[in-house]
């Protein structure tokens, strides 16, 4: 049932030596380590001195005003964008210009996009088995079996032979999640997965993400769904103008934000 190589779900009793801001679970090794990372678009300094560590099984919510660099940051983690200085180490492999490193990391890191980015010329099932077959070299039968299991998990097995263009937005996004999971990633990145959806479809996608979180997947989610952040996040990170401004457990973050910009942002997000 659990497709990803899930870490055993920690029990509260083990929760003794976790550092205070890491929430209620004991966290082991670091799977994403970003150190003093900077990125420029031409002369525009889009990410400034970013340092961030994500532990295995941790769920991080990244928020901040539009244009603050959230997408750019998580896209650096699987090298859809290149950083110019600092270090990014994912699952023990440093991201450099070495294509093999990049491909190795991309195999282990799944990504879900705001606009789904399903392959419109392939059916839902073909979307799901493409990468396992071509990248992981799995036999088609094995890949298809897992794909069907995952499509069942996101509750759309009956759509397997349809084309993405025939599905609703919420269904497409769930297919996109299943497609990523088919690669059995260790880490999942979400870039505003519900922002392009009609309100009535947001819940079905969030439910899928919550169940994924409950299974112990390491997740980095850019989202403005504060309900999601409150229920599943171990840590909420607030970015503004390319910097990490504030970083806290969800309870403290929402009830007692330290930074003025965070307060302003939260008031806009929560009372619009």
């Amino acid at each position: 049932m659990v497709s990803a190589p899930a870490t055993p779900t920690p029990t509260p009793s083990e929760d003794t030596d976790a550092s205070p801001r890491l929430g209620s679970r004991r966290l082991q090794d670091v799977v994403i380590a970003i150190e003093a990372m900077n990125k420029w678009y031409g002369a525009f300094h889009v990410l400034r001195d970013i340092s961030l560590q994500v532990h295995r099984g941790e769920r991080i919510v990244l928020c901040g005003p539009s244009g603050s660099g959230k997408s750019t940051l998580i896209r650096c983690i699987n090298r859809l964008e290149e950083h110019q200085s600092g270090r990014i180490v994912v699952d023990g492999v440093e991201l450099t210009n070495d294509v093999r490193h990049v491909e190795q990391i991309r195999r282990e890191v799944g990504m879900v996009f705001q606009h789904f980015n399903l392959f419109p010329h392939l059916t839902v099932l073909e979307n799901c088995v493409l990468a396992p077959i071509w990248v992981r070299k799995e036999p088609r039968r094995v890949a298809e079996e897992r794909a069907m299991r995952l499509l069942e998990r996101v509750k759309i097995p009956e759509q397997a032979s349809k084309y993405p263009g025939q599905l609703s937005g919420g269904q497409q996004q769930r297919v996109a999640i299943a497609r990523s999971l088919c690669m059995q990633p260790k880490i999942m990145l979400f870039d505003e997965p519900t922002s392009a959806l009609d309100p009535e479809m947001i819940k079905e996608v969030l439910d899928t993400m919550i169940s994924l979180a409950e299974e112990g997947m390491t997740m980095v989610c850019v989202t403005h769904e504060m309900g999601f952040a409150k229920t599943v996040a171990d840590r909420v990170i607030f970015m503004d103008q390319g910097q990490i401004v504030e970083e806290n457990d969800p309870h403290t973050f929402f009830t007692n934000p330290v930074n003025d910009r965070t307060r302003l942002f939260l008031s806009q997000i929560l009372h619009h």
Partner: protein, 365 residues
């Protein structure tokens, strides 16, 4: 108090179905349309009636010499007595069965592509792309397997047209795709060389390419090195058409949203798999009309080999026209050549429409 009162029934609608309704709606809906319809009818009568008179009613179909043509219409014996020449050129008559076998193979590969549910359609298409060109070369050239060698100088007529067009089509598409990818490459050397190649070949007329291939190239080659005139013409056509094809394909590549590349990369697909599995299938599908347009242009451009002395179907017609025994006849030959081109080009056009419909997967951009 308001009392319900039935309104009188409306009159039945004017007839809008059937031929009468259709004509009323489409041809006679306004005074302007009535006028245009009248003009159209007059034009059709003025053009089609004499054409039918000439080509069929007053035409001569039987006979073997010009004297047989006594009517005022077309003299088809001109075409029928020379049909072999128009189809095979100077290909030696005892060996013409080889050309016929090739025609049959071509039909075997192409016809099933038009029938959606034909079993083994894909295998035949693959054979058409990979096996058939080799087989065709063996069959037509000979020199091995007990087949007498037939030099390319003897090839001609419709067969030569088809050889030029098929080779051009089979080669121009893959070369064009590679050039289009190269032109969008991040590697400067690749990009600049592809761009230069494309812009060079697009900038010169095909006639001059063929002329250079046939007249100038031998001057640059060392003494004694001489390669086949047909081969040179083919290379010229491939270079020229692949440059056009590259630009058509590039248009399709540019229409693919960046998210498709990103999703493919994020799944761990490398450059070639991303292109081959995700981007090109979508891009090529988008530009089917442009690709077929280029194919049709290519098909008709093959006739330019006339100027370097290769007699394709039009060339052989032209060669036949100068025969003093038939000095009254010319149009018949051109009509025949025109029909040959039209049949193939129209066929390609219909096939592309069918293909577009078939590949529709419910996503409209």
């Amino acid at each position: 108090m308001a009392v319900f009162e039935a309104k009188p029934a409306l009159p039945p609608p004017v007839l809008t179905r059937g031929p009468v309704g259709w004509a009323r709606q489409n041809l006679l809906s306004s005074p302007l349309n009535v006028g245009l319809t009248l003009v159209g009818v007059v034009l059709i009568v003025a053009l089609v009636v004499p054409a039918v008179d000439w080509a069929l009613l007053n035409a001569t179909f039987r006979g073997t010499t010009a004297d047989a043509c006594t009517g005022t219409g077309a003299c088809w014996p001109f075409v029928t007595t020379r049909l072999d020449f128009f189809v095979y050129g100077f290909y030696p008559p005892p060996e013409r069965w080889r050309v016929n076998v090739l025609f049959a193979l071509l039909a075997l590969v192409i016809v099933p592509q038009l029938l959606p549910r034909f079993p083994g359609r894909r295998a035949l298409a693959v054979f058409g792309f990979l096996g058939l060109p080799v087989l065709a070369a063996v069959l037509l050239l000979g020199g091995i397997a007990g087949l007498p060698f037939v030099e390319t100088g003897k090839w001609g007529g419709l067969m030569l047209t088809l050889v030029l067009a098929m080779v051009g089509i089979l080669a121009a598409l893959p070369v064009g795709v590679v050039l289009a990818l190269g032109r969008r490459s991040k590697m400067v050397v690749v990009r600049v060389s592809c761009t230069t190649f494309i812009e060079f070949w697009r900038g010169v007329p095909l006639i001059s390419v063929l002329f250079m291939a046939s007249v100038m190239l031998p001057l640059f080659l060392p003494e004694g090195v001489n390669f086949d005139k047909l081969l040179r013409a083919l290379i010229g056509i491939i270079m020229f058409q692949s440059a056009y094809m590259a630009e058509v394909v590039r248009g399709g590549l540019q229409a693919i949203p960046r998210g498709q590349f990103e999703a493919a990369h994020a799944l761990g697909l490398g450059y070639w798999r991303t292109m081959g599995l995700i981007i090109l299938p979508q891009a090529l599908k988008l530009v089917i009309p442009g690709i077929v347009n280029t194919f049709i242009a290519l098909f008709k451009d093959t006739t330019l080999v006339l100027i370097i002395g290769l007699l394709d179907v039009l060339g052989s017609v032209q060669a036949a026209i100068v025969d003093p025994a038939w000095n009254r006849v010319a149009v018949e030959g051109y009509v025949f050549a025109g029909l040959c081109y039209w049949v193939f080009c129209f066929g390609m056009s219909r096939y592309s429409h069918a293909l577009e419909r078939k590949l529709q997967t419910g996503h409209k951009r």
